[in-house]
């Protein structure tokens, strides 16, 4: 069971640093869906001349950055309903075709936020169990994308672990997450637990284990 473990929260990487770590792991030429919010930062950190094609589930492939104020077109929005642009070589399609890209395994990577990730790769990120239930495209993205990356704070605001033995919140998908990028560490989901690929310089492995509900190893 989850419990409050960290009374004082050590600060790890900021969200831009996490985004840049994810950006480094996206190969040239890959098709990527970035979730609304924090994951959107990733596109700013693609370096080394790599070209990535961004997909937005509302029927847009080849999404570009937000428009200038005077270029806003309310018919050109992303899945978060914010104005965006389309790059040369982009295309529009209808919703069934757009989700065929996701569900048919054509999206190489999706990057999503998380409320909880279990040691088996289960993801909970759509419902706190209260309020109006609203799922959007999250369940499709995790079920269909070739690789599901989670970008998250390691702990909740209350200091509870988000990486857990078993999710307590309603699942978005079971055994879907391949890698977690938190402010404390980058971790792969493996049969033996959360495998640390990189550890924040302020964090010891012991501390990481303490604030993680489930086996952590290097």
């Amino acid at each position: 069971m989850k419990k409050i473990i960290a009374l004082e929260i050590i600060s790890g990487w900021d969200r831009n640093t996490i985004a840049s770590k994810i950006a480094k792991d996206l190969p040239h030429g890959s098709y990527v869906n970035l979730g609304i919010g924090m994951p959107e930062l990733v596109s700013q950190y693609i370096e080394g001349g790599r070209e990535i094609v961004y997909h937005s589930e509302n029927g847009l492939l080849g999404m570009g950055p937000p428009p200038q104020e005077n270029e806003i077109d309310l018919d050109l929005i992303n899945a978060g309903k914010k104005p965006v642009t389309i790059l040369p070589g982009g295309s529009f399609c209808h919703h069934a075709d757009s989700f065929s890209m996701i569900r048919g395994g054509h999206i190489d990577y999706c990057v999503l936020g998380a409320m909880e990730v279990s040691i088996k790769g289960d993801l909970a990120n759509w419902s706190t169990g209260t309020g109006i239930p609203a799922v959007g495209g999250a369940m499709d993205l995790v079920a269909g994308s070739k690789h599901v990356f989670v970008m998250t704070q390691h702990l909740t605001k209350e200091g509870e672990p988000k990486l857990v033995k078993q999710c307590s919140l309603p699942l978005t998908g079971a055994s879907v997450v391949s890698r977690i990028y938190s402010d404390y560490a980058t971790l792969d989901i493996t049969d033996k637990g959360f495998k640390v690929l990189e550890l924040n310089e302020n964090i010891t492995l012991d501390y990481l284990q303490m604030v993680t509900d489930g086996n952590v190893y290097q």
């Binding site: 018919d75 050109l76 929005i77 309903k81 919703h95 069934a96 989700f99 109006i132 499709d140």
Partner: protein, 237 residues
């Protein structure tokens, strides 16, 4: 006598919409949302409607207004939360409106299935989640999938960009979204467009929705822009 699906009066366009009808509403957010048709439906007054859409309306225009008029019994959608949603949350909190949550891709595919004559299909989306509860499961190559059924409607309310008299439609950018598949899935597809062209000027390579999926068209040259209307405090009726 030529095929001509263009009509001039909103009241004629919607005259057969009945109490208890199931209506698909195109659009994703405000892009492609048929606000004038929805206002026509408020004037029409049909009640106990089941609405199939991605969202549940913003402010007190379009779908938000229709819900606010208590004409809607149930909403089937993927995302009923919205920063500018007023009417749905109010009624939902009071238990006065039903909600069926469907993952967005499953929603799209169920609509497309209805249009394509497929009564059911299997999908990995939702497996192992609360939204799979009560659904039939089946293994394909050792992996678990759930059965989803086609989602039909009596009417589709759709916004397109350009039409000809046969009902051939093109859309503007991401305002395409659910509109083409809803035209396929409904018994009667009712479309508002900004512009009508001669069929001779329709490029057969560029048609997104072929006329076979469209029943009635009305020209609304300057449709209401939802976000602006809401910012200005617009309320319909």
């Amino acid at each position: 006598m030529k095929i001509n699906k263009i009509m001039n009066e909103m009241s004629d366009l919607l005259s057969d919409v009945f109490d208890g009808a199931t209506i698909m509403i195109g659009g994703f957010g405000e892009a492609g949302s048929p606000i004038e048709l929805l206002h026509g439906l408020i004037d029409n007054g049909a009640k106990n409607l089941t609405i199939i859409a991605n969202n549940a309306g913003n402010g007190r225009v379009g779908l938000g207004a229709l819900i606010g008029q208590n004409q809607v019994k149930k909403v089937i959608c993927s995302f009923a939360r919205s920063a500018k949603g007023i009417t749905f949350p109010e009624l939902y909190a009071k238990g006065k409106i039903e909600l069926e949550v469907v993952p967005q891709g499953t929603l799209a595919e169920r609509i497309r299935a209805a249009g394509a004559g497929i009564p059911g299909f299997y999908t990995a989306t939702g497996v192992g989640t609360p939204l799979a509860e009560g659904k039939e499961e089946k293994l394909f190559n050792g992996k678990k999938y759930i059965l989803e059924n086609a989602l039909h409607a009596d009417f589709a309310f759709v916004k397109a960009d350009v039409a000809d008299r046969y009902g051939n439609l093109t859309y503007n950018k991401t305002a395409r979204n659910f509109n083409p598949i809803m035209c396929m899935a409904a018994k009667q597809s009712i479309v508002q467009v900004r512009n009508i062209i001669d069929p001779k000027d329709t490029d057969p390579e560029q048609v997104v929705t072929p006329g076979i999926f469209v029943n009635r068209i009305i020209k609304i040259e300057n449709p209401i822009i939802e976000s602006k209307a809401i910012a200005e405090g617009a309320v319909y009726p």
